[in-house]
Amino acid sequence: MGGKPKLNTTRTALFPILGLGFIVLVIIAIVREDRQEWKVYQRAYVENLAGLLESSLKNSLPESEVRGRVSAVRNQPLRIKEIRPPITGKIERCLTCHEGIEEISPSHPVDSFGCVSCHGGDGLGVTVEIAHRGLIGGRNPSDLAVIDQTCAKPGGQCHAGRKMDFQNSADRVRKGIMATMSGVIASLRYSWDAQPVADALYGSVGVKGPMPTGPGQTTLLTIPLMSLVQGVPLRDALGQPLIISGQPADDQWRKFCARCHVWSAREEGPSAHSSGCAACHALYNANATYEGFDPTLPKNKPGYARQHHLTTTIPVDQCLRCHNRSGRIGLSYAGLQEADGYGTPYKAGRPNLGPLSGERDARRLVPDIHFEKGMACIDCHNGNEIMGNGYIYSHMRDQVEIRCIDCHGAPGKPPRTKILRPQEEEALWKAKVLKMPDMIAEEVGITERGTPILNLRKEGDKLVLRSKLDQKDHVCPVISDDKYHRIPGHGPSRMECSSCHSRWVPQCYGCHDYRQRGEAMHDSMLKMRSDGAWKETRDYYRYEKPTLGINARGRVAVTVPGCQVVYTELGAGGRPLPGLEQKVFTGPGFDHGIVSTPISPHTTRTEVRPCEECHADPKVLGIGQGLFQAGKSWDENSFTPLLKPGVNPLGFAWESLASPKGAPLASTTHPGARPFNAEELKRILNVAPCLPCHGKYDDPIWANPGDAFIRAKLPGHQRKVARFLKGEK
């Protein structure tokens, strides 16, 4: 009995408490329901949409009507959005949160592809946690590390495993030079005495493929580690084994060079880019921020493509995100030269070191004429060159096939063309990918290797290039019949066009590399810090008077320092280690590490250098910047460099490729490339005395210089000269 009233009391107290609890729970549930991630995002999207609608209608409709329409949008109920893309046949709810995201491209319509076929994840989830479980490659399914599950999915019939090899672009890209960086690695390792040959043995990530030179497969191994890194398995991004080399070259590549290639992304700054296919095909704005409509993506955080959109019309500034170091040909093309680091003129009193990554400033010089006319990189460089053609190349110059003469012709040889027939499957397929109109029976240009240049077509007797970016037509000047390119020895069989047509080229003289032991720095391949912090200083930077030499094709070409490395390894307290101070690499198989290399400057102008600039200037001829004195006999020639050569441990001036007598001094990483030899120097210098009177390229004597030199010796000409020397007219 005594317990009953107690019970009653408890009950009476329990009801209101329970009731209150129930109400609280309901409120919590409502609030939580309302604050569900997808609702927050959808509301943000709707709000965004409403705002847009309002501002677009504001001026054309009466206010009340605008208000009505906008509130209709605002008031539409929030709901789970589902699609069932035919490719997977499974329900996806991704757009519930990501509503408003741009369609990735017309070739990848969301209605057919959905999201999961590329991105993976759990299509049924409506929370980040569940939906993003099993996402492939984070935000970027085109990253080369995961591409086998996405763009290159076996059996996916997408960009790999298809019938015709040229359709398997994902395979090609992985073998291409932008992914392997085999050339950079090979040249670096070769000139740092880490390997005995200048051809490629390693890639950024190991890859197998055919060699262009013969049958069979070749293998590039993954670039080694200099030393063991604690706690890191000796595996690369694909799980392939890594070796330990002990070579500083490998460490330097991983810390510096590896920041830019298709395997790695860069979040911030002027060089920000995605990895994989998106590295080129997803465009970035200047701040690397997202500008699109997906409400889940931040608008002011760097590291995002401009939109969720892939394109094949890639503008120059996208290419410049990577092609702004080393030869800097991307910058040069756009008329930008890396300046001397002062950041002047100041902006609001602050040095302006923003324009290029790594706090580098830029100076504007005359750009390449093609850039000036509005052409982009991809207007000259075709897919084979950019994405690779399935072969493994050692060097960029091997993968590139376009030449000036392909469009402009050579003296007596107009550019070659070809009429596209239905059996040209590759060309026609590419034209289709590039959204070009029906190309069958079109007459188009072809490269030396025979690849059709799809955007260069014959119209009547003219060659017309259509820019891939703006569809603008450019009539291509053909030089085969003009009077300007007739001088023997100056044709494209002997000289690269750029020898005369490039008036400036970036020249970075004297590179001092320091590696601090015991200090860590980010390894862009391991994506973590490892021992060895690098610092690099240069002696001076120039753009004037490009130097000439002979390139790997045996032609006269612009030659730049690249790289002239003096290496110092620092130990405790920043003190140089014995034997490793001011070291120049030398080794079997190559001369030394003070390297100059031929380059294609990409500063083409119709205006050419004056004859004297090459035929009489010691710097241009590779003798050096300084005082050249021609002796009575060739062996009495002398040269005094302006810069005391002590800063180069090998004792020659940075601009010098050869001695004033023609003995080679600089080394090179391009097999076959070299400075001018004595015979060539003589031939070139010997022209100088003719130039005062015969200094125009259309002077009749240059139709046959050999003959002219003989006639110069004849009494008639001798008398003329003698009269001149006496001061008579």
């Binding site: 001397d340 002062y342 003129p345 040095p351 004297e612 005094t640 800063v647 010997n686 010796k713």
Partner: protein
């Protein structure tokens, strides 16, 4: 107990000793190494330094003492008691007044209407003291006081910043030149090993008249005449361009700034020093106020080397040249005798270290006594001179350096910002400012966390007091290659240098840019983008090539241009407007094709090449071609056009 008694004993001994020292009244007790100042100065310490020799304590003995009795700005200036005349003269030289730098800078920055000297670092004769550096005066004066006037004979030294107060730890006054700091050399960063507190004390307490080039470089450094004589060219400021090596022979430093080693002047290479060419009248002055260095300097190349057919002008030394004779005796490294013939400079001064002997002209270095035989053009008979000296117009219309200078200083685009707010981050890579004070301010702050940054405060070199703000700067580009020619105030073709092409900014204490990369207006209303003629001290026996000037657009002042073959149209290589410079010409383009000036000169009587020059110096001028062919003659590399052997088959 034993210890205590020992201590008492020791104290007693000390007291007795101290008392003895005091009685001996000798400064040398504490300064045993001070030694005699020079043979000509057999003086007691007190005669120059003052102080109280009867006191044995440091404070007592040093009461009323002056560390540097040669400081002319000090009321207790001691040297003047004997050297009244020298002091009077030195006080009026440009090294003391800085009137040249002041008037040029003030004119270019629009603070005065012409370049005539009106101001000096202190009041003297008709020159007034430069306005106070407060913001009521022109900005130019603040720039001068806090950046430029660091180097002059009376600068406030011993700032505690190593290398500030003048460039180096040299003293003020007479001692600035005559007391050497032997630790200062071509690679003076070895000075870092000096014990702390050394603060620019002269290492030997000694006066000398054998002043070596290294001493002159304490002030005459940076990319200015002086440093070029030693082949020094300041490296670009950015840390990306600074080179570290333990060997000073390949990585020279001056005032902690690193330099390139370029080809030095042949005179330096042969062992000659600044004072071997520049006589005392040019260095210590003649007592007159000058506006520009060119007025104070009277020595010319031809004074020693003559002209074709004209040997150097000499004069017999008379007993009345007593000052010169006394100076020679005091120096002791060169002999000057009554009756001998010595060279006279164009300025009318004796080069007392030269002598004509049996038709030869000899020069003895005032620093090491080494005798040099002077190559004289006077023996070149008319018509037999070397080709370049025979060409009409070359000898009478050009400075020798127009051809003989191997390289020139071309610091294009001088960008200066007065930064009054603590915003150091953008200067992280640019702490090497070529100015020890600016560098110290940047480095000190950048070393700290941002929250601890203090507003910049820099010293006024005339008052020694600091105030808010610091002048920071940089360039558009610095080059040594090639040359740009113009006309100097003697009307001769001369090498030019950008001097200066100003872009000014000023950020106030709130961080607002009051001035944002503005080109100042000169006193006569033109853009202060200036090139001026100068005398590069990079002389080499071998000249540059004919085509380095003739037909060379850059040398002629047209800049680097591209010439279109079809129509002769020229295109500049640069794009200054797009670079944000606010001008439509390249920095090395001083005139247009019609020789109309695009930039200015601020030297009285100087100018750029004229249309007539452009025509005559064209590569197609028949007279030029005639001599050019002669130049090529007899040299295999140039195809030996006399024989026209042509290229070998």
């Amino acid at each position: 107990m034993r210890r205590l008694s020992l201590a008492i004993l020791a104290a007693a001994c000390l007291l007795v000793t101290a008392a003895g020292v005091a009685r001996a009244s000798s400064c040398l007790t504490c300064h045993p190494g001070a030694g005699k100042m020079s043979e000509s100065h057999p003086l007691s310490c007190v005669e120059c330094h003052g102080g109280n020799p009867d006191d044995s304590t440091q404070t007592g003995a040093h009461e009323g003492m002056r560390a540097n009795p040669s400081d002319m700005t000090n009321p207790a200036f001691a040297c003047g008691r004997c050297h009244e005349d020298q002091a009077r003269r030195v006080n009026r030289t440009l090294m003391s007044t800085m009137a040249g730098i002041i008037s040029q800078t003030r004119f270019l920055l629009g603070a005065q209407k012409d370049v005539e000297a009106r101001y000096a670092v202190r009041e003297i004769d008709n020159l007034r003291m430069l306005h106070k550096g407060d913001d009521s005066g022109p900005l130019a004066d603040d720039l001068l006081r806090r950046r430029c006037l660091r180097c002059h004979l009376g600068a406030v030294g011993n700032t505690g910043i190593q290398g500030a107060g003048r460039s180096g730890p040299t003293a003020a006054g007479c001692a600035a030149c005559h007391v050497l700091n032997e630790k200062i050399g071509m690679a003076p960063d070895q000075r870092a090993s000096q014990p702390p507190g050394a603060r620019g004390m002269p290492s030997p307490h000694r006066l000398t008249t054998a002043v070596p080039t290294t001493q002159c470089l304490q002030c005459h450094n940076g990319n200015r005449v002086g440093a070029d004589y030693a082949g020094l060219f300041e490296r670009d400021h950015s840390l990306f361009y600074n080179f570290e090596a333990s060997d000073p022979e390949i990585a020279p430093h001056l005032m902690k700034h690193s330099y390139h080693y370029l080809l030095p002047d042949i005179h330096q290479e042969r062992g000659m020093h600044c004072i071997d060419c520049h006589p005392v009248e040019e260095l210590m002055g003649e007592g007159r106020i000058h506006s520009q260095a060119q007025e104070q300097v009277g020595v010319r190349c031809q004074d020693c080397h003559g002209l074709p057919g004209k040997p150097p002008r000499t004069r017999r030394v008379e007993a009345s040249d007593s000052r010169a004779l006394r100076a020679a005796k005091a120096n002791g490294r060169y002999g000057l005798q009554v009756g001998s013939n010595v060279i006279v400079t164009s300025g009318g001064h004796l080069l007392t270290n030269t002598v004509e002997k049996a038709g030869n002209f000899l020069l003895a270095s005032k620093v090491d006594g080494k005798v040099h035989k002077i190559p004289v053009l006077g023996r070149e008979l008319p018509g037999k001179e070397p080709l370049n000296h025979r060409i009409p117009g070359h000898m009478d219309k050009m400075e020798c350096t127009a051809c003989h200078a191997a390289w020139t200083y071309q610091d294009m685009g001088l960008h200066l910002v007065r930064q009054d707010s603590p915003d150091y981050e953008p200067w992280t890579w640019l702490t090497r400012q070529g100015d020890p004070q600016a560098r110290e301010i940047l480095e000190t702050n950048l070393f700290k966390r941002r929250e601890q940054w203090s507003p910049p405060s820099s010293r006024d070199w005339l008052t020694g007091f600091s105030k808010i703000g610091v002048w920071l700067g940089g360039y558009s580009m610095r080059r040594w290659e090639g040359r740009v020619l113009g006309l100097n105030s003697r009307g001769r073709v001369s090498a030019m240098r950008p001097h200066y092409q100003y872009w000014l900014s000023w950020v106030d204490t709130r961080g607002q840019a009051v001035l944002d990369s503005v080109i100042p207006q000169t006193g006569d209303g033109r853009q202060a983008v200036a090139w001026n003629p100068y005398a590069p001290h990079t002389v080499r026996p071998q000249t540059v090539d004919c085509w380095d000037c003739h037909g060379n657009t850059r040398a002629l002042g047209l800049g680097q241009t591209l010439v279109r073959a079809k129509d002769g149209q020229t295109v500049g290589l640069g794009r200054s407007r797009d670079d944000g410079l606010g001008i439509d010409f390249d920095l090395d383009r001083v005139i247009d094709e019609k020789a109309r000036p695009l930039q200015i000169t601020s030297r009285t009587g100087a100018g750029f090449l004229t249309e007539e020059h452009l025509e005559r110096m064209s590569a197609r001028n028949p007279l030029y071609i005639r001599y050019l062919l002669e130049f090529f003659k007899g040299k295999e590399a140039w195809g030996d056009p006399a024989g026209f052997t042509g290229p070998k088959k």
